[in-house]
């Protein structure tokens, strides 16, 4: 068994145990989960929301949702990490769209473009599985064709609907759908292969 596989299993086992304690109302387990995941959770919230206040509200609400209803996480359907980050992203998109409706302004344009000249290896802190996975995800994104990565990032980090993406890029809606699916399939294959 590889070192990486052992670490993945250790982290999954730790999260399952923390989740078990959380279901019993253990505040210590909740605090431990906050310490483990608050950085990536706040990172995605801020990336999507582009605003400190909104990001804090999103993180607050995401963690409180986990505290109030830990049963919503089903271990048979994926990892706690995936659940929490997906939940945070979902809430961040909702928050951004609500703000957009209220203020009719775009507060995240600067976050849409991929960072230029980025050296993903610089961001990796050795020994941390989360950071390792972060590096893998960024590398997987780089392997996508530009047109696929653009629609994916506009949707995921830019909170755009497919109709909005088609309008902004001036391409047919069907093309947006096709590129999105191709990107998701390729990421699925790449990330599954890496984790295996």
């Amino acid at each position: 068994m590889s070192c990486r596989t052992e670490r993945v299993q250790e982290d999954a086992g730790r999260d399952l145990e923390l989740h078990r304690r959380l279901k019993g109302g253990d505040a210590g387990a909740f605090e431990e989960l906050y310490k483990i995941y608050s950085r990536p959770v706040y990172g995605i919230a801020l990336r999507v929301a582009g605003h400190d206040g909104i990001a804090q509200e999103v993180v607050h609400d995401a963690f409180m949702a986990l505290w109030r209803a830990p049963e919503a996480f089903d271990p048979t359907r994926g990892s706690l990490r995936t659940f929490l980050l997906s939940l945070t992203h979902h809430r961040a998109v909702d928050a951004v769209r609500r703000e957009e409706r209220l203020r009719q302004r775009n507060i995240r344009a600067s976050n849409l473009e991929p960072r230029q000249g980025e050296d993903v290896a610089e961001d990796v802190v050795e020994g941390a599985l989360l950071d390792q996975r972060s590096k893998e995800v960024r590398e997987a994104l780089v392997t996508l064709p530009d047109d696929q990565r653009t629609v994916l990032e506009m949707a995921y980090f830019g909170s755009r609907t497919q109709v909005q993406i088609a309008e902004e890029l001036g391409i047919p809606l069907g093309t947006v759908k096709t590129r999105t699916l191709a990107a998701m399939r390729k990421l699925r294959r790449t990330l599954q292969r890496v984790e295996a």
Partner: protein, 243 residues
């Protein structure tokens, strides 16, 4: 069949990215209820795409949250999410719905489309059990203009999981449907159309109701399929945050 699944995969990819709207969103909702739960291929695809969206979050730079955030969360942990008296009253409504439902039979119509009766039994039983459970769910009682609670909504703040159950719901006028609207700061989002079957309604939706202020159900002509704001007669309504 392969082409069908390519089309479904397109919708699932857009769904997990929260990128769908209009007809695509409604089609995805329908698939998630009618097809995906019984299709091993689609269930695997959906789970894999959801895992990808979870991983994608790691592409953002991890950032230390402000120091004040954790104390705020700790304070919120001690707050009672729902007023106890109010919750008990809503549970009483839920209990009465369960009792009435036992007399109403098992003919349940979900968005006017589902036809599998045994599936309905399991779904409604599960929904009612969830509604009366104590897992952090909140409830909204929808009242008609005479303040009679006829429908009950159960939701988990922060989660895309909302359920509507109604009993003794009268049929709309011939050629009409009921339309569910979600209101957020005055903006309306059309959620679903339904027609009760023998007075029973069951709707399950992948929305987080806590992000909306109010739920309104109107009666609309069945042909009015592309309205953007409630135009028909308001039949039931309820404030989300009043719970």
């Amino acid at each position: 069949m392969i082409q069908d699944h390519d089309r479904i995969d397109e919708l699932l990819a857009g769904y997990v990215l929260q990128g769908l709207e209009g007809d695509d969103a409604r089609e995805a909702d329908r698939l998630l209820v009618e097809h995906v739960p019984d299709c091993a291929v689609c269930k695997e695809t959906l789970a894999a795409f959801q895992a990808v969206t979870g991983d994608l979050a790691l592409a953002a730079d991890p950032i230390d949250p402000p120091d004040l955030l954790w104390p705020q969360i700790r304070r919120s942990m001690g707050e009672e999410p729902v007023g106890r008296g109010r919750k008990l009253a809503l549970l009483a409504v839920a209990a009465s719905i369960v009792a009435i439902f036992a007399l109403a039979g098992w003919n349940v119509l979900l968005n006017g489309r589902i036809s599998d009766e045994s599936g309905h039994k399991q779904q409604l039983a599960s929904m009612l059990a969830d509604m009366t459970g104590d897992d952090g769910r909140r409830m909204v009682s929808l009242e008609d203009p005479d303040h009679e609670p006829t429908m009950l909504i159960s939701y988990l703040p922060g989660y895309p999981a909302t359920r509507f159950v109604g009993v003794n719901v009268p049929d709309p006028a011939e050629g009409h449907v009921y339309r569910v609207w979600l209101i957020d700061h005055g903006d309306s989002t059309q959620l679903a159309d339904f027609v009760p079957s023998e007075g029973v309604v069951m709707i399950e939706s992948n929305i987080d109701l806590s992000t909306f202020d109010e739920v309104v159900i109107t009666e609309e002509p069945g042909s009015a399929s592309a309205t953007f704001a409630p135009g028909g007669t308001v039949r039931w309504s309820g404030n989300v945050f009043a719970t």
